[in-house]
Amino acid sequence: MALSKRKRAAYLRYAQYALIVLVVAVIAFAADWASLRDSFFKPDLVREQFPDILKTALKNTIIYTACGFVFGLLLGLVLALMRLSSIGPWRWLSTAIIELFRGLPALVVFLALGPGFSRAFPDYEIPGGGLGVATLALGLVGGAYMAETIRAGIQAVPKGQMEAARSLGMSHSRAMISIVIPQAFRIILPPLTNELILLTKDSSLIYILGLSLDEYDLTKWGREGMNSAANLTPIIVVGLCYLLITVPLSIVVRRMEAKSERAR
């Protein structure tokens, strides 16, 4: 059995291709395409979704996510600077907040801020309705994650940058704002975009809030559509809409990573 290493690797690869072809063929023959199409991709139900799914559900998902992300980014920056502070209580407070909201499932945060809040403080409500709760919940969850990313980014900026800025007479905070933080964000743009993708999906948790029709996000829209049509087609369309947001973001991340790889 004197197969060379390279030959053996080639045979192994052909065997893998053959296996993939086999599996696809079996699925294609075994599947009942007509019934699959009727329950998952009914053309008239697909057509029925448009354009309202874009004008309402897709738009709302983007708004909830964007507001949550922006709030989370600001919160994450503040938490990161607190973590790096020389003042002990700031560090402890920010560590506690980060650990709390990183450790809790996003659903629990939504439940606490939505139904939980209105039960605990019946006389108050979170301003902004569904959007307000979504911004707060997504911002807390995303901010806790992003705080650690931002902190790592700030620490990845060479110490000489701060020293050069200080030697030119800049104060610590001025040097942070003009010199260190812009460089940190360049470094962490890929992980931040990943966080945006995760938040896009987490925004679906808003369904627990009891929304009016014009507040529906994609997932809520799909569930309602699925129930009223007794068919899975709306969910499939919703899934494609999510991909419409997330796949371009992934491509952007990959581009940025390739670019920073080349710059090294």
Binding site: A165, S167, G169, S171, S178, I179
Partner: protein, 258 residues
Amino acid sequence: MTTWSTGEPHVPSDRSTAAIDVQQLHKYFGSNEVLKGIDFHVGVGEVVCVIGPSGSGKSTLLRCVNMLETPTSGKIFVEGDEITDPDADVDKLRSRIGMVFQSFNLFPHMTVLRNLCIAQQRVKGRSKSESVEIARANLAKVGLSEKEDAYPAHLSGGQSQRVAIARALSMEPDMMLFDEPTSALDPELVGDVLQVMKDLASEGMTMMVVTHEMGFAREVGNKLVFMDGGVILEEGVPAEVLANPQHERTQGFLSKVL
């Protein structure tokens, strides 16, 4: 009236006329005493070169002068103002002291021109047009006018260091600190940077230079300081110290580097 003179080249002059005056400076990193009671003096317009083996505390001394390191004890005066005073406005005093690092430390996310303007605008409150004018003048001085739109990543080491010098000069400092400004450069690029420093010295800039360039020290320096083990072992006129070192350790060091 006492009218005696010692004839020595470096009598400590009146404190108020000294550019840099270091008194009994001690610096610990943890339990490691890196500076062990330094007394040190740079007169206005003087060029003082500091040499010594690796780890002797040259960088630490330089970095204490503009408080990038906080001294453990001792006093440092900059043009008569005590920068080590807890109530001193360190940021303000620092803007009188230019600093050039071994590793350049240009801001990589900004063009060369922006590197030269940012602190002028943010610290000195200069207008955009004023700061650009000063920046261009300093770029011309270091011979890099054509690079104003380049990013630091596209500069050679020698060009980067000259931009770093121009950046420090754009704040119009009264004195300049150099920490081995040519040590990170390819040998053929060292000359350009040294030339810029020579020009600066001949314009009367007060300079404190940590360097291994003995030729520069001999030619440009008014005073040469040899440090070892956190103390100043010997100081004097560069040509004399280099030709005729008094201390055994100075002799040993010079025999290795010359």
